[in-house]
């Protein structure tokens, strides 16, 4: 029996500015392509088999770089697939946001926004080539709230060049005072192909990254933001249901340049080449997962969650006890206080979450 696909991801690769650290599929906003691109997306959206999704997520790039009319075209198409309780998220860049776009979002049922704030520190913003200001961010957060879009995430980054723990703490304290429900925070990763990589910017050492993280966790916790995934914190359980679907190993449809999808046990990627995409050559890579790979992903994702993974679900999914599969690594990690278990769940401890990659390698060796 085919599983129902409950999540839909739409990628808008266009940006008015390219950020130095971003390694998502992205390109300058070229009007020549944008119109055509939206046309393709809209067609694909109409052709989707599922009627209603539990979550829809428009990410980028910069979705708000679209003109109001193109944005409307896209949202209108998606609206058909929105159910009553659908979580409908769009990533917002304060710089390209307008009142008009906000009203369009509201009209088509967007109920969650994610703002790529990264930092409020003016000097740091300059370093990462971002052109918004603290004031703009605060303004838009208020606007969204006023229009009833109250489920708001902001992204914060740590480990930037010249950033200090003090500066990061200031960002965190400011963020927690805002009228938002969710904070995601990541250490700077310098990936190949980014401007930072070419500038030979170094990631901070792991012990420093750890100090940032400890600070992050402490400040957010004491301000009511509870961690539910390694890098994600929410007030009053306003979790990102779309992202939780990833971490639960759920399937999803991905549309748009460079986006990934996972359907019927197959992970696929859409073309990253805009010309190819506009010829209708969407999916370029496909990979059917073996059972072993599925197990690997299941633990890799599941252990990122605060409460880890459910042992019963694991057993149902793979028809084997998790303890029988990870014979050596589980007792070892539990003994070393990296993992802990309750009757139903297996989860990484605080320390374990910090060293999750090491745990995973150990566990993979058992497979």
């Amino acid at each position: 029996m085919k599983k129902k696909i409950t999540s839909l991801y739409i990628h808008i690769p266009f940006c008015r500015h390219l950020c130095d650290y971003c390694d998502f599929t992205k390109m300058f906003y070229l009007p020549l392509y944008v119109k055509d691109y939206i046309k393709h997306l809209v067609k694909q959206i109409y052709n989707l088999k599922e009627r209603k999704y539990k979550t829809i997520y428009i990410g980028g790039g910069t979705p708000t770089s679209l003109s109001p009319s193109l944005l409307e075209e896209l949202l209108k198409a998606l609206y058909i697939h929105k159910g009553k309780n659908t979580e409908f998220t769009i990533e917002v860049n304060p710089e390209t946001m307008t009142k008009k776009k906000l009203l369009i979002m509201k009209k088509y049922g967007v109920n969650r926004v994610s703002l790529g704030v990264q930092t409020f520190d003016a000097d740091l913003l300059k370093i990462i080539n971002r052109f918004h200001s603290k004031r703009q961010v605060v303004y838009w957060i208020n606007q969204f709230n006023k229009e009833g879009i109250k489920n708001i995430n902001i992204d914060l980054i740590y480990g930037l060049p010249t950033q200090t723990l003090e500066k990061f703490k200031k960002d965190l304290l400011l963020a927690t005072k805002l009228n938002i429900t969710h904070i995601s925070s990541y250490s700077l990763t310098v990936s190949k192909g980014t401007r930072f990589y070419n500038m030979k910017v170094k990631e901070v050492a792991d012990d420093i990254s750890r100090e940032y993280y400890d600070l992050l966790y402490k400040v957010l916790k004491s301000n009511g933001f509870k961690r539910y995934e390694i890098s994600n914190f929410a007030k009053n359980k306003n979790w990102s249901r779309h992202n939780l679907n990833y971490w639960n190993g759920g399937e999803y449809t991905g549309l748009g340049l460079g986006s990934h999808g996972y359907e019927e046990g197959v992970r696929y990627q859409n073309s990253t080449n805009i010309q190819e995409y506009l010829k209708g050559h969407y999916i370029v890579k496909q990979e059917k997962l073996t059972k072993k790979e599925k197990i690997e992903e299941y633990i890799m994702l599941g252990l990122r969650k605060e409460n880890g993974l459910n042992k019963e679900s694991f057993k149902r999914e793979f028809r084997e006890e998790i303890h029988c599969i990870f014979k050596n690594s589980l007792p070892d990690c539990i003994q070393n206080n990296l993992l802990c278990e309750t009757k139903y769940s297996l989860k990484a401890t605080y320390e374990g979450k910090m060293l999750l990659d090491q745990i995973l390698i150990k566990m993979f060796l058992d497979l």
Binding site: Y9, F24, Y186, S187, T189, D206, D207, S209, R210, Y213, I230, S231, N243, Y246, W247, Y252, G254, G258, S259, H260, G261, Y262, R267, Q269, E287, E293, E296, E297, M300, L301, R304, N336, L338, K353, M354, L355, L356, D357, Q358, L360, I361, K362, F364, L365
Partner: protein, 602 residues
Amino acid sequence: MFDQKRIRNFSIIAHIDHGKSTLADRILELTGSVDKREMKDQLLDSMDLERERGITIKLNAVTLKYHHTDGKDYTFNLIDTPGHVDFTYEVSRSLAACEGALLVVDATQGVEAQTLANVYLAVDNDLEIIPVINKVDLPSADSHHVREEIESRIGISCDKAIDVSAKTGLNVDKVLAQIVETIPAPSGDINAPLKALIFDSNYDSYRGVVINIRLKEGSVKVGDIIHLCAAEKDYQVTELGVRTPKEEKRDILYAGEVGYLCAQIKDIKDVHPGETITLRDNPTKTPLPGYRHINPMVYCGLYPVDSKKYQDLKEALEKLCLNDSSLVFEPETSQALGFGFRCGFLGLLHMDVVQERLEREYKIDLILTAPSVIYKVNMTSGATVFIDNPSKLPDPTLIKSIEEPYIKANIMTPKEYVGPIMELCQEKRGIYLDLEYFDETRMILNYEIPLSEIVYNFFDKLKSYSKGYASFDYELSDYRVSNLAKMDILLNGIPIDALSLIVYKPTAYNRGNAITRKLKEVIPRQQFEVPVQAAINGKVIARTDIKAVRKDVLAKCYGGDISRKRKLLEKQKEGKKRMKKVGSVEVPQEAFMSLLAIDDDE
């Protein structure tokens, strides 16, 4: 019709890269022994590894037909020699099977120490030597200069020297003609009692040991009962033949000929190069001179990374031993590494080759401990013990003195590098013997150096001190008392037997520091802090700490990151497989050998 006068037995002497194998290939081609189509480049070097490294490790002999300008057919036996300092004895034995040798010298490089050492071996064996100046097609070739060098430095006349290009085939025909004219035909009474020289052997699962022989006197036929003079064993000959290079069976071989012999010999350890074969019922009274039983010079521990592969490793070593009489091994247990073997090698290259073959042909991931020489330990009780594993050194209170092997090193270098090389030799505790001019530009340095210092990063340093121009040759000289002690390496407070080494006390502090620093570099950080200490007699002389990992987790993991991340972890997992858990610390397999590549002054 057997005609001794129409046989020429010769080998080719050359420095690495001077073109020995290419010349051999051309000779094979010109004599029609090998179809051009079936020519693999450099046919004589048949092991992959040899071809990759451009060196010959296993000897080969091939019998060729040559139609000379006098209208007669001649039989050429080309006997190949290994070109490395680890195999000097083997070289001398294969040269003993010849009457002549081609001395191949690169016209762009000139004579090298290695060449010199092998030429002297040839001269010792009374061989007629034909100088062949190779690579004359290259723009930087200077044949005239090289000829002068050969005449003045080696003392061989270059009247008959030939300029060739083995690559293009230029003048290779002249070399063939010269072989007939210059190299004497073998002599030896075909009616005398059999005297055949073993110069090589290999193992074949159907026929047992296949021995390569040169008959010096008498004859041997299928069915004969032969007697190995040194091993004192008898066997019945089941097969005789020559290689052209395809095997051609013969019923009988006569004095002067080169061929192979099978006699259902099961153990290659009975068959040593230099050994004499005679007939049981009509034995020679005087076995051939020059036979030596050669012993391994360096030992190291060989352990499977995956302890389940112990049996596989054992079988692989047994198989390698079938073809390699100089490789020895015996089981050994290490607290750190579990079950493995202590293996003895002729030298570092030999060790490298064995390691690579085990990993490549038998697919066994290995941990090698740093190689050790054999120490002679004189006990206070008056007894003497030989130690090939540093961790087995007896308690210092029971030791009166420790002796270590010295070698006589012969280093040829352009004179501008003499200073740095002398410095290197001093640093390596070398004892200066003499320094002589080889020609206007080059000098030969003679030193006595402890073998353990040669094992420890000598080659690489010699290379860098001389920008690669120095060449090096050595032979074992004798054992001498040295101021030595065992240095223990402790990881997380636990001494790791596989990392123990015997060091020269006066420089132990530097060595200890260098080793602990190196280990800090090669051992990945663990989830806890790991102190690395070096200690002598329980006293810590150096320490560094490997800091604990504090954070190792992917920041973002969403839709697009999942496959990428899984694959990344898989890759890291493969790396982890090559690590060995020593106590509570994960140590990569290279860590053990990395100790060799340390510069004490760094």
